[in-house]
Symmetry: C2
Protein backbone atom coordinates (compact mmCIF):
# COMPACT_ATOMS: atom_id res chain seq x y z
CA UNK A 1 0.00 0.00 0.00
CA UNK A 2 1.39 3.41 -1.01
CA UNK A 3 0.23 6.21 1.26
CA UNK A 4 -0.35 9.53 -0.50
CA UNK A 5 -1.52 13.00 0.45
CA UNK A 6 -2.81 15.36 -2.25
CA UNK A 7 -2.72 19.06 -1.38
CA UNK A 8 -5.09 21.21 -3.45
CA UNK A 9 -8.70 21.49 -4.53
CA UNK A 10 -8.33 22.05 -8.28
CA UNK A 11 -9.24 19.80 -11.22
CA UNK A 12 -5.96 17.87 -11.21
CA UNK A 13 -6.12 17.28 -7.44
CA UNK A 14 -9.74 16.12 -7.61
CA UNK A 15 -9.29 13.81 -10.61
CA UNK A 16 -6.11 12.31 -9.10
CA UNK A 17 -7.88 11.71 -5.79
CA UNK A 18 -10.75 9.95 -7.55
CA UNK A 19 -8.33 7.81 -9.56
CA UNK A 20 -6.22 6.87 -6.50
CA UNK A 21 -9.35 6.01 -4.53
CA UNK A 22 -10.43 3.64 -7.28
CA UNK A 23 -7.29 1.50 -6.80
CA UNK A 24 -6.69 -0.96 -3.96
CA UNK A 25 -2.95 -0.23 -3.69
CA UNK A 26 -2.99 3.51 -3.15
CA UNK A 27 -4.33 5.20 -0.04
CA UNK A 28 -5.09 8.90 -0.48
CA UNK A 29 -6.06 11.87 1.68
CA UNK A 30 -6.98 15.13 -0.04
CA UNK A 31 -6.08 18.29 1.90
CA UNK A 32 -7.01 21.94 1.41
CA UNK A 33 -3.82 24.00 0.97
CA UNK A 34 -5.09 26.50 3.55
CA UNK A 35 -5.12 23.88 6.33
CA UNK A 36 -1.66 22.38 6.40
CA UNK A 37 -1.65 21.23 10.01
CA UNK A 38 -1.93 17.66 11.28
CA UNK A 39 -1.60 16.11 7.83
CA UNK A 40 -1.12 12.33 8.12
CA UNK A 41 2.29 10.90 7.17
CA UNK A 42 2.64 9.61 3.63
CA UNK A 43 5.11 8.03 1.20
CA UNK A 44 4.32 10.70 -1.39
CA UNK A 45 2.91 14.20 -0.91
CA UNK A 46 1.48 15.67 -4.11
CA UNK A 47 1.27 19.46 -4.16
CA UNK A 48 -1.35 20.26 -6.79
CA UNK A 49 -1.83 24.01 -6.51
CA UNK A 50 -1.23 26.99 -8.84
CA UNK A 51 2.39 27.43 -9.99
CA UNK A 52 2.82 30.58 -7.86
CA UNK A 53 1.80 28.76 -4.68
CA UNK A 54 3.97 25.62 -4.97
CA UNK A 55 7.03 27.13 -3.29
CA UNK A 56 5.13 28.57 -0.34
CA UNK A 57 3.17 25.34 0.25
CA UNK A 58 6.39 23.32 0.08
CA UNK A 59 7.99 25.69 2.59
CA UNK A 60 5.16 25.16 5.03
CA UNK A 61 5.87 21.40 4.93
CA UNK A 62 9.54 21.80 5.86
CA UNK A 63 9.96 18.85 8.18
CA UNK A 64 7.65 16.52 6.34
CA UNK A 65 9.07 13.06 5.53
CA UNK A 66 8.73 11.15 2.31
CA UNK A 67 8.80 12.32 -1.29
CA UNK A 68 7.29 15.73 -2.12
CA UNK A 69 6.21 16.40 -5.74
CA UNK A 70 4.23 18.98 -7.70
CA UNK A 71 1.95 18.42 -10.72
CA UNK A 72 2.85 21.47 -12.82
CA UNK A 73 3.75 21.49 -16.51
CA UNK A 74 5.94 24.55 -16.18
CA UNK A 75 7.30 24.92 -12.63
CA UNK A 76 10.89 23.72 -12.10
CA UNK A 77 11.56 20.75 -9.84
CA UNK A 78 13.31 23.25 -7.53
CA UNK A 79 9.97 24.88 -6.70
CA UNK A 80 9.97 22.14 -4.05
CA UNK A 81 12.36 22.97 -1.23
CA UNK A 82 12.72 19.49 0.29
CA UNK A 83 15.65 17.21 -0.61
CA UNK A 84 13.42 14.34 -1.73
CA UNK A 85 11.56 16.24 -4.43
CA UNK A 86 10.00 15.48 -7.76
CA UNK A 87 7.46 16.24 -10.48
CA UNK A 88 4.34 14.19 -11.18
CA UNK A 89 2.76 15.93 -14.20
CA UNK A 90 -0.24 14.28 -15.89
CA UNK A 91 -0.29 15.72 -19.41
CA UNK A 92 -4.00 16.05 -20.05
CA UNK A 93 -6.65 18.77 -20.06
CA UNK A 94 -8.84 18.17 -17.02
CA UNK A 95 -12.35 19.56 -16.84
CA UNK A 96 -14.60 19.67 -13.81
CA UNK A 97 -17.38 17.08 -14.00
CA UNK A 98 -15.89 15.41 -17.07
CA UNK A 99 -14.59 11.94 -16.23
CA UNK A 100 -11.06 11.00 -17.22
CA UNK A 101 -9.72 7.67 -18.45
CA UNK A 102 -6.36 7.58 -16.65
CA UNK A 103 -5.15 4.60 -18.65
CA UNK A 104 -4.67 7.00 -21.57
CA UNK A 105 -2.81 9.67 -19.65
CA UNK A 106 0.96 10.19 -20.01
CA UNK A 107 2.68 11.15 -16.75
CA UNK A 108 5.88 13.20 -17.01
CA UNK A 109 8.08 12.19 -14.08
CA UNK A 110 11.19 13.79 -12.63
CA UNK A 111 13.05 13.15 -9.37
CA UNK A 112 16.49 13.77 -7.90
CA UNK A 113 16.86 10.30 -6.35
CA UNK A 114 16.58 7.15 -8.47
CA UNK A 115 14.47 5.26 -5.89
CA UNK A 116 11.98 8.12 -5.84
CA UNK A 117 11.57 7.79 -9.61
CA UNK A 118 10.66 4.15 -9.11
CA UNK A 119 8.08 5.14 -6.51
CA UNK A 120 6.38 7.61 -8.89
CA UNK A 121 6.58 5.08 -11.70
CA UNK A 122 4.79 2.57 -9.48
CA UNK A 123 1.96 5.06 -8.82
CA UNK A 124 1.58 5.58 -12.57
CA UNK A 125 1.59 1.85 -13.24
CA UNK A 126 -1.07 1.20 -10.60
CA UNK A 127 -3.25 3.71 -12.50
CA UNK A 128 -2.55 1.77 -15.72
CA UNK A 129 -1.20 5.04 -17.09
CA UNK A 130 2.05 5.61 -18.98
CA UNK A 131 5.21 7.03 -17.31
CA UNK A 132 7.71 9.20 -19.22
CA UNK A 133 11.04 10.42 -17.86
CA UNK A 134 10.99 14.14 -18.68
CA UNK A 135 13.30 16.71 -17.08
CA UNK A 136 12.28 20.28 -16.20
CA UNK A 137 13.66 21.77 -19.41
CA UNK A 138 11.94 19.18 -21.63
CA UNK A 139 8.71 19.53 -19.66
CA UNK A 140 8.63 23.27 -20.34
CA UNK A 141 9.01 22.61 -24.08
CA UNK A 142 6.27 19.99 -23.91
CA UNK A 143 4.04 22.53 -22.22
CA UNK A 144 4.76 25.00 -25.01
CA UNK A 145 3.92 22.34 -27.61
CA UNK A 146 0.72 21.64 -25.67
CA UNK A 147 -0.31 25.29 -26.03
CA UNK A 148 -0.25 24.80 -29.81
CA UNK A 149 -1.99 21.41 -29.95
CA UNK A 150 -4.54 22.20 -27.23
CA UNK A 151 -5.20 25.92 -26.64
CA UNK A 152 -4.47 27.16 -30.17
CA UNK A 153 -6.20 24.19 -31.81
CA UNK A 154 -9.20 24.86 -29.60
CA UNK A 155 -9.18 28.46 -30.81
CA UNK A 156 -9.25 27.23 -34.41
CA UNK A 157 -12.39 25.27 -33.40
CA UNK A 158 -13.85 28.47 -31.93
CA UNK A 159 -13.31 30.40 -35.18
CA UNK A 160 -14.83 27.49 -37.13
CA UNK A 161 -17.86 27.59 -34.87
CA UNK A 162 -18.22 31.35 -35.23
CA UNK A 163 -18.16 31.08 -39.04
CA UNK A 164 -20.85 28.36 -38.87
CA UNK A 165 -23.07 30.33 -36.51
CA UNK A 166 -22.80 33.49 -38.59
CA UNK A 167 -24.07 31.60 -41.64
CA UNK A 168 -26.66 29.38 -39.93
CA UNK A 169 -24.88 26.09 -40.49
CA UNK A 170 -24.79 23.65 -37.56
CA UNK A 171 -21.23 23.36 -36.18
CA UNK A 172 -21.86 19.66 -35.51
CA UNK A 173 -21.37 19.03 -39.26
CA UNK A 174 -17.67 19.62 -38.56
CA UNK A 175 -17.38 17.30 -35.53
CA UNK A 176 -16.47 14.15 -37.50
CA UNK A 177 -13.81 16.09 -39.46
CA UNK A 178 -12.35 17.41 -36.20
CA UNK A 179 -12.20 13.89 -34.76
CA UNK A 180 -10.61 12.44 -37.90
CA UNK A 181 -8.01 15.24 -38.04
CA UNK A 182 -6.99 14.42 -34.46
CA UNK A 183 -6.87 10.65 -35.09
CA UNK A 184 -4.96 10.83 -38.34
CA UNK A 185 -1.78 12.24 -36.78
CA UNK A 186 -1.44 9.19 -34.54
CA UNK A 187 -0.77 7.22 -37.76
CA UNK A 188 0.95 9.67 -40.11
CA UNK A 189 2.86 12.87 -39.33
CA UNK A 190 0.94 16.19 -39.38
CA UNK A 191 3.12 17.34 -42.28
CA UNK A 192 2.16 14.30 -44.34
CA UNK A 193 -1.49 14.63 -43.32
CA UNK A 194 -1.78 18.22 -44.51
CA UNK A 195 -4.26 19.06 -47.30
CA UNK A 196 -6.27 22.15 -48.28
CA UNK A 197 -5.85 25.41 -50.20
CA UNK A 198 -2.62 26.49 -48.44
CA UNK A 199 -0.92 23.17 -49.11
CA UNK A 200 -1.88 23.10 -52.80
CA UNK A 201 -1.23 26.81 -53.36
CA UNK A 202 -4.82 27.45 -54.41
CA UNK A 203 -4.66 31.26 -54.62
CA UNK A 204 -8.24 31.64 -55.85
CA UNK A 205 -9.79 29.77 -52.88
CA UNK A 206 -7.49 31.57 -50.42
CA UNK A 207 -8.60 34.94 -51.83
CA UNK A 208 -12.26 34.01 -51.59
CA UNK A 209 -11.78 32.77 -48.00
CA UNK A 210 -10.07 36.02 -46.96
CA UNK A 211 -13.02 38.04 -48.24
CA UNK A 212 -15.28 36.24 -45.77
CA UNK A 213 -13.23 36.88 -42.62
CA UNK A 214 -12.84 39.79 -40.23
CA UNK A 215 -9.51 41.59 -39.97
CA UNK A 216 -8.12 39.52 -37.09
CA UNK A 217 -9.17 36.25 -38.72
CA UNK A 218 -7.60 37.40 -42.00
CA UNK A 219 -4.27 38.00 -40.29
CA UNK A 220 -4.34 34.53 -38.72
CA UNK A 221 -5.44 32.93 -42.00
CA UNK A 222 -2.60 34.57 -43.92
CA UNK A 223 0.08 33.84 -41.33
CA UNK A 224 -0.86 30.16 -40.89
CA UNK A 225 -1.25 29.71 -44.67
CA UNK A 226 2.25 31.14 -45.17
CA UNK A 227 3.65 28.89 -42.44
CA UNK A 228 2.05 25.80 -44.04
CA UNK A 229 3.54 26.76 -47.40
CA UNK A 230 7.03 27.39 -46.03
CA UNK A 231 7.32 24.37 -43.72
CA UNK B 1 -31.85 -0.64 -56.49
CA UNK B 2 -30.34 2.80 -57.20
CA UNK B 3 -28.00 2.81 -60.18
CA UNK B 4 -25.02 5.15 -59.83
CA UNK B 5 -21.98 6.06 -61.88
CA UNK B 6 -19.00 7.71 -60.19
CA UNK B 7 -16.67 9.67 -62.48
CA UNK B 8 -13.18 10.20 -61.09
CA UNK B 9 -10.22 8.34 -59.61
CA UNK B 10 -9.45 10.45 -56.51
CA UNK B 11 -9.85 9.64 -52.82
CA UNK B 12 -13.50 10.69 -52.60
CA UNK B 13 -14.43 8.71 -55.73
CA UNK B 14 -12.63 5.60 -54.49
CA UNK B 15 -14.01 5.71 -50.94
CA UNK B 16 -17.56 6.36 -52.23
CA UNK B 17 -17.27 3.45 -54.67
CA UNK B 18 -16.14 1.14 -51.87
CA UNK B 19 -18.99 2.30 -49.62
CA UNK B 20 -21.64 1.93 -52.34
CA UNK B 21 -20.34 -1.51 -53.24
CA UNK B 22 -20.73 -2.61 -49.62
CA UNK B 23 -24.51 -1.95 -49.74
CA UNK B 24 -27.10 -4.17 -51.37
CA UNK B 25 -29.29 -1.29 -52.55
CA UNK B 26 -26.80 0.76 -54.56
CA UNK B 27 -25.23 -0.39 -57.81
CA UNK B 28 -22.10 1.50 -58.77
CA UNK B 29 -19.75 1.78 -61.76
CA UNK B 30 -16.56 3.83 -61.35
CA UNK B 31 -15.39 5.57 -64.54
CA UNK B 32 -12.14 7.34 -65.41
CA UNK B 33 -12.92 10.95 -66.42
CA UNK B 34 -10.76 10.56 -69.53
CA UNK B 35 -12.99 7.82 -70.94
CA UNK B 36 -16.48 9.24 -70.99
CA UNK B 37 -17.91 7.09 -73.77
CA UNK B 38 -20.37 4.22 -73.42
CA UNK B 39 -21.07 4.89 -69.75
CA UNK B 40 -24.04 2.81 -68.58
CA UNK B 41 -27.28 4.65 -67.74
CA UNK B 42 -27.80 5.55 -64.08
CA UNK B 43 -30.21 7.27 -61.69
CA UNK B 44 -27.39 9.40 -60.30
CA UNK B 45 -24.08 10.38 -61.91
CA UNK B 46 -21.51 11.58 -59.38
CA UNK B 47 -18.75 13.77 -60.84
CA UNK B 48 -15.90 13.52 -58.34
CA UNK B 49 -13.05 15.37 -60.04
CA UNK B 50 -11.02 18.52 -59.23
CA UNK B 51 -13.09 21.73 -59.02
CA UNK B 52 -11.60 23.07 -62.27
CA UNK B 53 -12.68 19.99 -64.22
CA UNK B 54 -16.33 19.67 -63.07
CA UNK B 55 -17.75 22.00 -65.71
CA UNK B 56 -15.93 20.39 -68.60
CA UNK B 57 -16.84 16.84 -67.50
CA UNK B 58 -20.47 17.88 -67.08
CA UNK B 59 -20.43 19.40 -70.58
CA UNK B 60 -19.20 16.13 -72.06
CA UNK B 61 -22.25 14.40 -70.56
CA UNK B 62 -24.75 16.78 -72.24
CA UNK B 63 -27.47 14.34 -73.19
CA UNK B 64 -27.11 12.07 -70.20
CA UNK B 65 -30.33 11.25 -68.32
CA UNK B 66 -30.82 11.18 -64.57
CA UNK B 67 -29.45 13.40 -61.82
CA UNK B 68 -25.91 14.78 -62.20
CA UNK B 69 -24.07 15.91 -59.03
CA UNK B 70 -20.57 16.91 -57.97
CA UNK B 71 -18.81 16.24 -54.64
CA UNK B 72 -17.02 19.56 -54.14
CA UNK B 73 -17.00 21.67 -50.98
CA UNK B 74 -16.52 24.91 -52.89
CA UNK B 75 -17.84 24.63 -56.48
CA UNK B 76 -21.29 26.14 -57.06
CA UNK B 77 -24.19 23.88 -58.02
CA UNK B 78 -24.11 25.65 -61.41
CA UNK B 79 -20.79 24.03 -62.23
CA UNK B 80 -23.10 21.29 -63.51
CA UNK B 81 -24.72 22.27 -66.81
CA UNK B 82 -27.62 19.78 -66.81
CA UNK B 83 -31.09 20.78 -65.61
CA UNK B 84 -31.30 17.98 -63.05
CA UNK B 85 -28.21 18.94 -61.06
CA UNK B 86 -27.06 18.76 -57.48
CA UNK B 87 -24.26 18.59 -54.92
CA UNK B 88 -23.32 15.49 -52.92
CA UNK B 89 -20.49 16.68 -50.63
CA UNK B 90 -19.20 14.31 -47.94
CA UNK B 91 -17.57 16.58 -45.36
CA UNK B 92 -14.61 14.50 -44.26
CA UNK B 93 -10.88 14.35 -44.90
CA UNK B 94 -10.26 11.26 -47.02
CA UNK B 95 -6.84 9.64 -47.14
CA UNK B 96 -5.68 6.94 -49.53
CA UNK B 97 -5.47 3.54 -47.83
CA UNK B 98 -7.14 4.78 -44.64
CA UNK B 99 -10.57 3.22 -44.22
CA UNK B 100 -13.55 5.47 -43.57
CA UNK B 101 -16.57 4.85 -41.34
CA UNK B 102 -19.31 6.37 -43.51
CA UNK B 103 -21.88 6.19 -40.72
CA UNK B 104 -20.09 9.15 -39.14
CA UNK B 105 -19.89 11.28 -42.28
CA UNK B 106 -22.15 14.32 -42.78
CA UNK B 107 -23.28 14.76 -46.40
CA UNK B 108 -24.09 18.30 -47.55
CA UNK B 109 -26.85 17.99 -50.16
CA UNK B 110 -28.21 20.52 -52.64
CA UNK B 111 -30.52 20.08 -55.63
CA UNK B 112 -32.80 22.21 -57.80
CA UNK B 113 -35.69 19.72 -57.85
CA UNK B 114 -37.29 18.46 -54.64
CA UNK B 115 -37.52 14.83 -55.81
CA UNK B 116 -33.80 14.85 -56.60
CA UNK B 117 -33.09 15.90 -53.01
CA UNK B 118 -35.03 12.84 -51.81
CA UNK B 119 -32.97 10.65 -54.11
CA UNK B 120 -29.67 11.96 -52.68
CA UNK B 121 -31.05 11.68 -49.17
CA UNK B 122 -31.88 8.04 -49.84
CA UNK B 123 -28.28 7.35 -50.96
CA UNK B 124 -27.01 8.92 -47.73
CA UNK B 125 -29.45 6.93 -45.62
CA UNK B 126 -28.46 3.65 -47.27
CA UNK B 127 -24.87 4.46 -46.20
CA UNK B 128 -26.16 5.06 -42.64
CA UNK B 129 -24.64 8.53 -42.95
CA UNK B 130 -26.23 11.87 -42.06
CA UNK B 131 -27.77 14.22 -44.67
CA UNK B 132 -27.77 18.01 -44.27
CA UNK B 133 -29.51 20.49 -46.56
CA UNK B 134 -26.79 23.03 -47.30
CA UNK B 135 -26.93 25.53 -50.17
CA UNK B 136 -23.92 26.65 -52.22
CA UNK B 137 -23.33 29.79 -50.18
CA UNK B 138 -23.50 27.94 -46.83
CA UNK B 139 -21.31 25.15 -48.20
CA UNK B 140 -18.58 27.65 -49.07
CA UNK B 141 -18.65 29.01 -45.52
CA UNK B 142 -18.54 25.48 -44.15
CA UNK B 143 -15.50 24.82 -46.30
CA UNK B 144 -13.85 27.94 -44.90
CA UNK B 145 -14.63 26.80 -41.35
CA UNK B 146 -13.16 23.39 -42.26
CA UNK B 147 -9.88 25.05 -43.22
CA UNK B 148 -9.61 26.33 -39.64
CA UNK B 149 -10.67 23.13 -37.85
CA UNK B 150 -8.79 20.77 -40.17
CA UNK B 151 -5.87 22.34 -42.09
CA UNK B 152 -4.94 25.01 -39.54
CA UNK B 153 -5.46 22.68 -36.58
CA UNK B 154 -3.26 20.15 -38.32
CA UNK B 155 -0.60 22.83 -38.69
CA UNK B 156 -0.78 23.48 -34.93
CA UNK B 157 -0.08 19.74 -34.52
CA UNK B 158 2.89 20.09 -36.87
CA UNK B 159 4.40 22.94 -34.83
CA UNK B 160 3.82 20.92 -31.65
CA UNK B 161 5.65 18.00 -33.20
CA UNK B 162 8.55 20.18 -34.33
CA UNK B 163 8.97 21.60 -30.82
CA UNK B 164 8.99 18.04 -29.41
CA UNK B 165 11.51 16.76 -31.95
CA UNK B 166 13.82 19.71 -31.39
CA UNK B 167 13.95 18.91 -27.68
CA UNK B 168 13.99 15.12 -27.89
CA UNK B 169 10.57 14.55 -26.35
CA UNK B 170 8.33 11.95 -28.02
CA UNK B 171 5.38 13.67 -29.75
CA UNK B 172 3.18 10.70 -28.75
CA UNK B 173 3.04 12.16 -25.21
CA UNK B 174 0.70 14.77 -26.72
CA UNK B 175 -1.62 12.33 -28.55
CA UNK B 176 -4.09 11.83 -25.67
CA UNK B 177 -4.30 15.61 -25.15
CA UNK B 178 -4.99 16.11 -28.87
CA UNK B 179 -7.74 13.51 -28.76
CA UNK B 180 -9.34 14.97 -25.63
CA UNK B 181 -9.24 18.51 -27.07
CA UNK B 182 -11.14 17.28 -30.14
CA UNK B 183 -13.68 15.32 -28.08
CA UNK B 184 -14.37 18.04 -25.55
CA UNK B 185 -15.93 20.45 -28.06
CA UNK B 186 -18.64 17.93 -28.90
CA UNK B 187 -19.91 18.49 -25.33
CA UNK B 188 -19.05 22.09 -24.49
CA UNK B 189 -18.35 25.03 -26.81
CA UNK B 190 -14.71 25.76 -27.76
CA UNK B 191 -14.96 29.11 -26.01
CA UNK B 192 -16.03 27.43 -22.75
CA UNK B 193 -13.39 24.72 -23.18
CA UNK B 194 -10.51 27.19 -23.51
CA UNK B 195 -7.71 27.12 -20.90
CA UNK B 196 -4.01 28.02 -20.90
CA UNK B 197 -1.74 31.06 -20.58
CA UNK B 198 -3.59 33.22 -23.15
CA UNK B 199 -6.96 32.65 -21.49
CA UNK B 200 -5.69 33.42 -17.98
CA UNK B 201 -3.50 36.36 -19.09
CA UNK B 202 -0.34 34.70 -17.79
CA UNK B 203 2.18 37.21 -19.16
CA UNK B 204 5.18 35.49 -17.60
CA UNK B 205 4.51 32.11 -19.23
CA UNK B 206 3.69 33.79 -22.57
CA UNK B 207 7.02 35.64 -22.47
CA UNK B 208 8.94 32.47 -21.67
CA UNK B 209 7.15 30.61 -24.49
CA UNK B 210 7.97 33.32 -27.04
CA UNK B 211 11.67 33.06 -26.19
CA UNK B 212 11.61 29.41 -27.30
CA UNK B 213 10.05 29.95 -30.75
CA UNK B 214 11.35 31.02 -34.13
CA UNK B 215 10.18 34.29 -35.67
CA UNK B 216 7.30 32.82 -37.66
CA UNK B 217 6.07 30.76 -34.70
CA UNK B 218 6.32 33.86 -32.48
CA UNK B 219 4.07 35.83 -34.83
CA UNK B 220 1.47 33.03 -34.82
CA UNK B 221 1.73 32.62 -31.05
CA UNK B 222 1.17 36.34 -30.48
CA UNK B 223 -1.69 36.68 -32.96
CA UNK B 224 -3.61 33.62 -31.71
CA UNK B 225 -3.00 34.60 -28.08
CA UNK B 226 -4.40 38.06 -28.80
CA UNK B 227 -7.41 36.57 -30.59
CA UNK B 228 -8.11 34.23 -27.63
CA UNK B 229 -7.95 37.17 -25.25
CA UNK B 230 -10.24 39.41 -27.33
CA UNK B 231 -12.89 36.81 -28.25
Amino acid sequence: MIKTVIIGQGNVASHLTTAFNATINIEVVQVNSRHLENIPDSDVTIISVSDDAIFSVSNQLKNRSGLIVHTSGTATIDAISQKRKGVFYPLQSFTKNRSVDFSKIPFCLETIIKEDYKLLELLVEILNAKPYKVDTSQRKKLHLAAVFVNNFTNHMYQIGQEICEKHNVPFEILHPLIEETAKKITEISPKEAQTGPAKRNDAQTIQSHLENLNLQQQKMYQLITQSIQEN
